[in-house]
C-alpha cells in the first residue's frame, strides 16, 4: 500500500466529507492524521481493507468523537458536534460517489472564499483539497515552512472566527464565487509554470495539481464554461513543458521550441475543451487566453502562427480586462501581425505607464523588437534596463545572452 499515493489521491475527498460531518477543519485534519497513523500500523499486518476510503472516514470519525469526549476541544459547540456526528451521520458507507463529489465542491468553495486573502486561498486549497503537505507547499513557493504553516493557521482561524460557512454558494453568489476558485487555480498553475528557480520538480507538481483541480471543477460544475476554458488554457500551456527549458536549464522561447517535444494529445484535449466552451458561448478572460494559447499550440511551425488572430484576441482581452501587462503582450502580437515599428510604438506609449515601471517584460519586449529591427545599440541599452528589473534566474540568463549578442 503506497500511503503517500493514497494520501495524495484521497485526502481531498475524505477531508471534505469529514469537515462536513464535524464542522471543523482542524478537528477533521487531526482526526484524519490519526486515522492514517492507525492505518499505517494495522494494514500491513491485518491487510488493506476492501474500501480504504470508507475505512479511513469511519476511523477518523471515531477518533474525532473520542477527542471531543476527552474534552480536548473546549468548544462551546462540543456537545452539538458529537450529537451531529452520532445521529445525523451514522455510518452509511454504501453511499454513492455523489456524496463525495458534493463535499469536495463545498471544500473547494470554502477554501477559495473571497473573504480569505488570495495567498491563503491558494495554500488552503493545496493543503486540504490536493493533499499536499505543508513542507511540499512551502518548497513550491520558495517560502519557509513556518511562514506557510502560519498562513494556514490564520486562514483556518479566519474561517472559524468570521463564520465562513461550509456549504456551496447560493445561486446568486455562484458566478462571483466560481471566479474566486478559478483565480486560485490559475495562480497555482502560474506559480508552477513560471518556475523561478528552486526545485523544478516540485513546481511541476503545482501544474499537475492545478490541472487536476481544474478537472474536478469541470466534473462537478459541468455548466461553468470558464472552468472548461481555464482547464483548456492550463493543458495547452502545460503541453510545452518538455520543450521550454534546455538540458542546461536555459529558457527556450516559444518560437524556438522543438514542437515535436510538445504533448500533442494534450493539445488536442485542450483544444477540444476550448471548442466546447466557446460553442456554449464562453467569452471571458480564460476563454480569450485559451484561444490565444490554442492558436500557438496548433501552429505546426512558428512561421505558421496566426498572429493577426492573436492580435485581435488581445484587443478583445484588453478591452474587457484592461491590464498594462496584457497591453505589453498585445504590443508584441501586433509587432508580429502588422509591423515591428507599430508594435514598438505601442510599447513606447506603455513606457508612460507608472504601473509598469518595475515590470521587466516591458523593456524586454522593447529590446526584442529593437533587436529584430537591427538597432543593436538601442537594444543593448534597453536589455540593460530589463536586466535591472528581472528577478527570475532563468529569465535573467536569457536576457544576458541577448545582451551579449547585441554587444558582442
Amino acid at each position: 500500500m503506497d500511503f503517500e499515493k493514497l494520501h495524495r489521491e484521497e485526502s481531498g475527498r475524505i477531508l471534505s466529507t469529514l469537515i462536513g460531518m464535524l464542522g471543523d477543519f482542524d478537528l477533521a485534519e487531526e482526526a484524519l492524521q490519526e486515522a492514517y497513523a492507525t492505518a499505517l500500523q494495522k494494514w500491513p499486518t491485518e491487510g488493506t481493507p476492501a474500501n480504504p476510503r470508507a475505512w479511513l472516514i469511519s476511523t477518523a470519525r471515531n477518533k474525532a468523537i473520542d477527542q471531543l469526549r476527552r474534552g480536548r476541544r473546549l468548544d462551546e459547540k462540543r456537545d452539538e458536534i458529537v450529537h451531529h456526528i452520532e445521529v445525523v451521520h451514522a455510518p452509511q458507507w454504501e453511499t454513492a460517489e455523489e456524496m463525495f463529489a458534493d463535499d469536495r465542491l463545498r471544500l473547494i468553495f470554502t477554501c477559495c472564499h473571497p473573504a480569505l486573502a488570495t495567498d491563503a486561498q491558494v495554500a488552503l486549497t493545496l493543503r486540504t483539497v490536493c493533499g499536499l503537505t505543508t513542507e511540499e507547499i512551502a518548497k513550491a513557493f520558495l517560502l519557509p515552512v513556518a511562514t506557510l504553516a502560519q498562513r494556514l493557521v490564520r486562514a483556518k482561524r479566519k474561517i472559524r472566527d468570521a463564520g465562513i460557512p461550509y456549504r456551496e454558494p447560493s445561486p446568486e453568489d455562484l458566478p462571483e464565487r466560481v471566479d474566486s476558485v478559478l483565480l486560485a487555480i490559475y495562480l497555482i498553475f502560474n506559480e508552477g509554470y513560471l518556475a523561478s528557480g528552486g526545485d523544478a520538480l516540485v513546481r511541476r507538481e503545482l501544474c499537475s495539481e492545478a490541472i487536476q483541480l481544474g478537472r474536478v471543477l469541470c466534473e462537478l460544475l459541468p455548466r461553468e464554461r470558464e472552468a472548461r476554458s481555464l482547464l483548456a488554457l492550463m493543458l495547452l500551456h502545460d503541453s510545452r513543458r518538455d520543450a521550454r527549458v534546455s538540458s542546461d536549464g536555459e529558457l527556450i522561447l516559444l518560437e524556438e521550441q522543438d514542437r515535436s517535444l510538445w504533448h500533442h494529445k494534450q493539445i488536442r484535449e485542450g483544444s477540444a475543451l476550448l471548442e466546447s466552451a466557446l460553442h456554449a458561448g464562453a467569452n471571458g478572460f480564460y476563454s480569450l487566453q485559451a484561444s490565444i494559447a490554442a492558436l500557438h499550440a496548433n501552429a505546426r511551425t512558428a512561421n505558421e502562427t496566426d498572429w493577426p488572430q492573436i492580435a485581435g484576441l488581445y484587443d478583445l482581452l484588453v478591452s474587457s480586462h484592461p491590464s498594462p501587462v496584457l497591453e505589453v503582450n498585445r504590443a508584441a502580437a501586433v509587432a508580429m501581425a502588422t509591423s515591428l515599428t507599430e508594435g514598438l510604438a505601442l510599447l513606447d506609449v506603455l513606457e508612460e505607464n507608472e504601473e509598469l515601471a518595475e515590470f521587466y517584460l516591458l523593456p524586454a519586449a522593447r529590446a526584442d523588437l529593437l533587436r529584430r529591427l537591427g538597432r543593436k545599440d538601442e537594444a543593448a541599452a534597453v536589455y540593460r534596463r530589463a536586466l535591472q528589473l528581472v528577478t527570475n534566474d532563468i529569465e535573467r540568463r536569457f536576457l544576458l545572452r541577448r545582451y551579449a549578442e547585441m554587444t558582442g
Binding site: A162, G163, P165, D173
Partner: protein, 124 residues
C-alpha cells in the same frame, strides 16, 4: 452569529448630496432596516454625526488625554453601523451589500465576540 457592520463613506461627498438624493437614501435605509427587522435580524444601528464632531480619549500613565477628531485620519470615515444577527458570514455579507452606502463606500463586517453567558450561568 452577531456581526457589526461598520459603514464607511466619504464625508466630503456625502455633504454634497442634494436634499432629494439624501431623502431617497434615507428612505432606502428605512426599507432595508424594515425588512431586516421583520426577519428578526436587525439588532440595532445608528447614523453617526460627522467626524468633525468626534473626540478621542486615551488614558496613558493614569492621565486622560483628549484630542479633537477621530482616532485616525482615514480616506473614508465611519458614518454609521448596523448590528445584525446572521447565520454565517455569507448572510452578513449579503446584508451588507444591500446597505446603500456600500455602493460608493465600504462596509467592514466584524463578527462579535459573544459571551457564553448562558453556559457560565448554568455552571452556577
Amino acid at each position: 452569529m452577531k456581526y457589526l457592520l461598520l459603514i464607511y463613506h466619504t464625508e466630503a461627498q456625502a455633504a454634497k448630496l442634494r436634499e432629494q438624493d439624501r431623502n431617497a437614501m434615507y428612505q432606502e435605509y428605512g426599507q432595508v432596516i424594515g425588512e431586516l427587522t421583520q426577519k428578526g435580524k436587525y439588532l440595532g444601528g445608528y447614523e453617526l454625526k460627522p467626524t468633525s464632531s468626534a473626540s478621542t480619549v486615551r488614558v496613558r500613565d493614569g492621565k486622560k488625554v483628549i484630542t479633537d477628531g477621530p482616532f485616525a485620519e482615514t480616506k473614508e470615515q465611519l458614518g454609521g453601523y448596523f448590528l445584525v444577527e446572521a447565520a454565517d458570514l455569507d448572510e452578513a455579507l449579503a446584508i451588507s451589500a444591500r446597505i446603500p452606502s456600500a455602493r460608493d463606500g465600504s462596509i467592514e463586517v466584524r463578527p462579535v465576540v459573544e459571551q457564553q453567558v448562558k453556559q457560565d450561568a448554568a455552571k452556577g
